[in-house]
């Protein structure tokens, strides 16, 4: 499985400079890079592909389909060329977005494309933040906020130009997304693996789940300046698979537009020894990955949501009520007089699954 990293960051935050440096380093060898346009910095690399993604910022409404066509075609062509030997056998793909891009449609395309199954896998999102102008960008542009909130790894660039430590900016980044690993780079210098090295899934997930609730407590769980909220939910009792499915469905339906990232390690009642890892971006959820074993002694289900205007009390109440309903229907908790004997059934509606059961 070839990992795909999405490199995003606001205009002028140093994405292209970073790529220009990395492409010259041995640690970045065997990496295919997809960029939306050639920047000012010449990218001299065998595996640079262009993808005309610039139209993304001109579209309105849902961009999933618009970006999917171009990006998917580019990736499929790249895979074909790899298979035919016309490009070196790359072992990593990095997709650079334009500075105003919302990363979500790109992530959706990567998460939902059946043609990539077993060949490509989304590894994470790296977001560059200009140490000098990042705070202003975050204050003025919602695109910049979303790019930070979606990140798995944040890179503070141009730190060589700072007169004093970027304390307030770092605090802001932590408030928006405490789970992301923060690195710094002066002159675009950073080791490739520090940004784009794959971390074992259980390790990365444990870090995410551990960091977010702690940070939430520190920050009061809410960033008033941007209405970005980080919620952490914990359940000691195993969760029935159908209850989790219903929870994700209701979240997607009612707060999908505001949900930026969702990650969870879930103790599924039907699979007590192998926890499920769930991952979502807005209303699209990745098929669950099943760990071979629990990464620690902590077998509680943990779910972290980052989004705009999310209400912890609502999500808690929703999960509790769905658990109770599923228990009741399955007979785990007898209802006093409810003898319909019917299981929970999805409402008949047209459409397709956000993720296929594989």
């Amino acid at each position: 499985m070839i990992p795909i990293w999405v490199l995003t960051g606001f205009l002028g935050s140093g994405k292209t400079t970073l790529l220009g440096r990395l492409l010259k380093s041995p640690g970045f060898a065997r990496t295919a890079v997809i960029i939306n346009e050639f920047g000012e910095v010449g990218l001299d690399h065998d595996l640079v592909e262009t993808s005309d993604e610039s139209f993304v910022t001109l579209q309105t409404g849902c961009l999933c389909c618009a970006v999917r066509d171009d990006l998917v075609l580019t990736l499929e062509a790249l895979l074909r060329r790899r298979a035919s030997g016309t490009v070196p056998p790359f072992e990593r793909v990095v997709i650079e977005t334009s500075g105003l891009a919302d990363p979500a449609p790109i992530l959706h395309a990567l998460m939902t494309q059946p043609a990539f199954e077993g060949r490509l896998a989304l590894a994470g999102v790296v977001t560059t933040v200009d140490a000098l102008t990042g705070a202003q960008a975050l204050a003025r542009y919602p695109e910049a906020v979303k790019q930070v909130a979606m990140a798995d790894r944040l890179l503070l660039t141009k730190t060589d130009l700072l007169q004093a430590p970027a304390t307030s900016l770092i605090a802001r980044l932590s408030a928006l997304n405490a789970a992301a690993v923060l690195s710094t780079a002066a002159f675009g210098e950073i080791a490739a693996d520090q940004l784009f090295g794959s971390e074992a899934l259980p390790v990365a997930l444990e870090r995410w789940l551990r960091t977010s609730p702690a940070a939430q407590a520190r920050q009061g769980g809410h960033n008033h300046a941007s209405d970005i909220t980080a919620l952490a939910l914990v359940r000691a009792a195993p969760v029935r698979a159908v209850a989790l499915t219903l929870l994700l469905e209701v979240l997607a339906e009612h707060v999908g537009g505001d949900l930026i990232r969702l990650k969870g390690l879930i103790n599924i009642a039907e699979s007590p020894e192998r926890p499920a890892v769930i991952h979502g971006v807005q209303h699209v959820f990745h098929p669950p990955a099943w760990l071979e074993r629990w990464p620690s002694q902590d077998r509680r289900s943990r779910l972290v949501l980052i989004g705009r205007n999310l209400r912890q009390a609502w999500v808690e109440a929703l999960w509790t009520a769905l658990d109770a309903e599923v228990d009741e229907v399955s007979g785990a908790v007898p209802a006093a007089a409810d003898t319909t004997g019917e299981g929970l059934r999805p409402e008949p509606r047209p459409g397709r699954a956000s993720f296929p059961a594989r």
Binding site: A241, V242, L244, T245, L246, L248, E249, V250, A252, E253, H254, V255, G256, I268, E270, S271, R274, A276, H283, F285, P288, W290, R311, A313, W314, A317, L318, T320, A321, L322, A324, E325, V329, A335, A336, A337, D338, T339, T340, E342, L344, R345, P346, E347, R349, P350, G351, R352, A353, S354, F355, P356, A357, R358
Partner: protein, 99 residues
Amino acid sequence: MSAAIPDCVLLLLQESLAAWRVRGVIARNAAGGLELCAAGTLIEIARAPEGLPFRWLVGVAERKRPVSGLAGLLRAVRALVDPDFRALPVRIAALPLAP
């Protein structure tokens, strides 16, 4: 006779109104169901009678529709109180029950 509506469902509906930024009140009625008043609409929510393949009846006055679970109940209620709400045109596939 249908079971009473659990407190957790009442709490969920109250929290849902807050999450949707809809002002409203919810109270139990004499029949054991719930009455939700919001956006100038009085919505009645009741357990479906025994023998029907649904768990809930929800609607205004005589126009009740059956829904099979809480996800459908929330969808139906929000459609009545939030004119900007659009039901998600996709479904979440059931999780595989085992790896």
